[in-house]
Chain length 163, copies 2
């Protein structure tokens, strides 16, 4: 039995207690933009229930075009009005540079990937930069209530970045 | 107290039971690519624990450039080898067309957004298309173990898409 088969078996247990019939628009009108890191259990951390909030995640939790695309749909089609940005300490994105990974890929595949990887140094500044990018997006109708946080992997504490 | 303040208060409770000190590389060497939908509680659904798997989420759970960027980092920097794609029935992405939302935004802001929105019809085909795109990406070193699922919002059942 592969690891994925185990997860599928877990899903069959979850099915028994799933709250079916919830509507599409998130109840709290909130979207979370967070890093993909495996130690960030977003629903558990924030006390969210099924149906409460959109959760958008990528490497770093950055305001990529795709995150902005998702937030546009979240706000314009599905009625969310607030955004929570969550990055974290001890992030894999601080362990390499864009140059290094692009070189590695070009060496192995012969092709240089046509995009930036978003490696960074300094998580507080990265949260501030992400909030700035969202606040500057003309396509998002709701940009007043954007708040950013750093989740501290060392302690489990989530602290706000005021910027 | 705003809704976000409530979530921050929940995070302070979560902090008490957070398992600090887990390493960066996901223990199960798995990355999940799923829709941002508020009814998809990925950790709970799959029985994941903190530290087990990367979770990448966007509107639709599609293989966007940003999702591929995240998966490249997941595999090349942080050692994951398998990918689970999870889309779902009753998706907001089936409720509009790219043309409609682009027109709406152009009318309101005067600028046509420079990207596709990924609206779709037919969730099974969309899962298959996402798996195809990942399997075709030359930048991902591990493409043998990619499996795709539809989570049925009406029942809580997760079924595999064989493609």
């Amino acid at each position: 039995m592969s690891e994925i088969d185990h997860l599928v078996a877990n899903a069959a247990i979850y099915e028994e207690r799933f709250d079916a019939g919830l509507p599409i628009p998130p109840k709290l009108q909130i979207a979370v933009l967070a890093c993909m890191d495996s130690r960030l259990r977003i629903f558990g951390m924030l006390g969210l229930h099924e149906g409460d909030a959109h959760v958008i995640r990528n490497a770093g939790g950055i305001a990529s075009d795709d995150a902005v695309r998702s937030l546009i749909i979240s706000q314009r089609i599905l009625g969310t009005r607030e955004i929570i940005v969550i990055h974290h300490t001890d992030c894999g994105m601080e362990r390499f540079t864009d140059e290094e990974i692009s070189n590695q890929i070009e060496r192995e595949t012969g092709v240089r990937p046509p995009f930036a990887f978003g490696a960074f140094q300094g998580v507080d500044a990265n949260v501030a930069r992400t909030m700035d990018a969202l606040r500057g997006s003309p396509f998002l109708p709701h940009r007043e209530d954007i708040r950013g946080f750093v989740f501290e992997i060392e302690t489990g504490h989530m602290r706000e970045v005021l910027a």
